[in-house]
């Protein structure tokens, strides 16, 4: 999946307008990224990318860039 398509899927999961999440976003910049929002992001990783999410790396992240970098390393995302 392309990074931008994944970011759009995150927008949908967090009930935001498409295109309103970027690699610069963090827990601090996204009001929707609370504990439930975090689960929504994890769920999106699972459902959209079918990446195993039962690892600490897939549960603990605090910036979008950090998450995307991990998913790119797993070859689940591409530019």
């Amino acid at each position: 999946m392309k990074v931008q398509a994944f970011l759009d899927a995150l927008c949908e999961a967090l009930n935001r307008e498409p295109g309103t999440i970027t690699l610069a976003d963090t827990k601090e910049t996204l009001a929707e990224w609370n504990s439930i929002g975090h689960l929504s992001i994890v769920a999106t990783v699972d459902s959209e990318l079918n990446v195993p999410v039962d690892t600490p790396e897939m549960q603990k992240f605090s910036t979008i860039a950090e998450l995307v970098a991990r998913l790119k390393a797993l070859k689940a995302l591409e530019d």
Partner: protein, 337 residues
């Protein structure tokens, strides 16, 4: 003969705690948004002097009051709780006495949470199938509210107190309850736990010290702690495999089941599992909006509600799955009635 369910009854505490109540108490909790995800609008909370055993007694009394069997014919009582009356003796022994069941019966507790009902069904089925017992009373009850800090949004909004009693007896055929697939991974033990209060870490002034986590939730080590993301990913990883293993063991496909009753954790978890396991949405049964997650009682309470609504009918084949604290999980088949 395999075990069949003769009847189910439940009991909930009188006190209702609504999302509006929580929003008034904690205006920063964004209860509307939370409810969209959890699907839970209210939950029941036990009174200060009301224990899980009290709820269990009420549920069992209601069931026995229906006259489905002579109570003297019950020869086993199995009680599942994580809110024991005492460290010892077993709650099952106290329950036997309060229910005036025979002194000839077997009775024991087991400590499991959201997988407990399916485990209990397997134990009851094994007792009946082996001839060790003819009628088994399986009782589940919990009062997680006693462990939850009032300032912990992550648990207080989800869990509710409640109890259920299920009476099982011999069926007409070898069909009935089962097969079952069980699983355990104690590596996840501390992701849903009450750290203090046991012998490893007795309650003390030190364990009662409150802390605020990064999500703003308040709790001490005397309170229930839940690592939501870890539990979510555990369920998403384990439940699909467990259901697949059950299908293989039973020699069936999803199409062979009339209804699916999963542990009623919350809407978000259930929707994720339905999608992940490719379960047929029209065959899913739910019962959490008005009671929340009642731990080991969610499945029997849902069964009772949908039997009473007429959805579940005799002869229908159900797939049940419970999962959570432990980690512990179980899936099983049940032919109704």
């Amino acid at each position: 003969m395999g075990a069949r369910v003769i009847g189910i009854a439940s009991h909930l505490p009188e006190r209702v705690e609504t999302n509006e109540d929580l929003a008034r108490e904690h205006p920063d909790w964004q209860m509307d948004k939370l409810a969209e995800k959890s699907g839970i609008l209210e939950r029941r909370v036990a009174g200060p002097q009301e224990t899980a055993l009290d709820l269990a007694f009420q549920a069992a009394s209601r069931l026995l009051g229906r006259g489905l069997v002579d109570p003297a014919e019950i020869d086993y009582l199995v009680y599942c709780t994580q809110a024991p009356e005492f460290l010892l003796p077993s709650g099952a022994c106290i329950l036997q006495h309060r229910l005036k069941l025979g002194r000839h019966i077997g009775a024991f507790d087991f400590n499991l949470g959201c997988s407990g009902y399916v485990y209990g069904l397997q134990v009851a089925d094994a007792l009946i199938r082996s001839g060790a017992a003819r009628h088994v009373l399986l009782v589940t009850a919990d009062t997680y509210s006693k462990y939850i800090h009032p300032g912990d949004r992550s648990t207080r909004t989800l869990f509710g107190d409640g109890a259920a009693a299920t009476l099982l007896g011999p069926g007409q055929t070898w069909e009935g309850a089962g097969p079952f697939v069980l699983g355990t991974d104690g590596g996840g033990a501390m992701n849903l736990c009450v750290p203090s209060g046991g012998l490893r870490l007795p309650r003390s002034a030190e364990t009662a010290v409150e802390q605020v986590d990064e999500a703003g939730c308040v709790r001490s080590r005397d309170n229930l702690y839940m690592n939501g993301p870890a539990l979510y990913t555990f369920a998403l990883t384990v439940v699909p495999k467990c259901i697949a293993a059950l299908l293989a063991k039973a020699g069936r496909t999803l199409a062979d089941y009339d209804w699916f009753v999963l542990h009623q954790a919350n809407k978000f978890m259930l929707e994720s599992l339905v999608a992940k396991c490719r379960l047929p949405a029209e065959k899913m049964l739910y019962e959490y909006e008005r009671i929340g997650n009642t731990v080991s009682s969610t499945i029997p309470i849902a069964l009772q509600a949908h039997v009473e609504s007429g959805a579940i009918r005799p002869g229908q084949r159900l797939l049940l799955a419970g999962f959570g604290v432990g980690y512990s999980w179980a899936a099983g088949e049940l032919v109704w009635g």
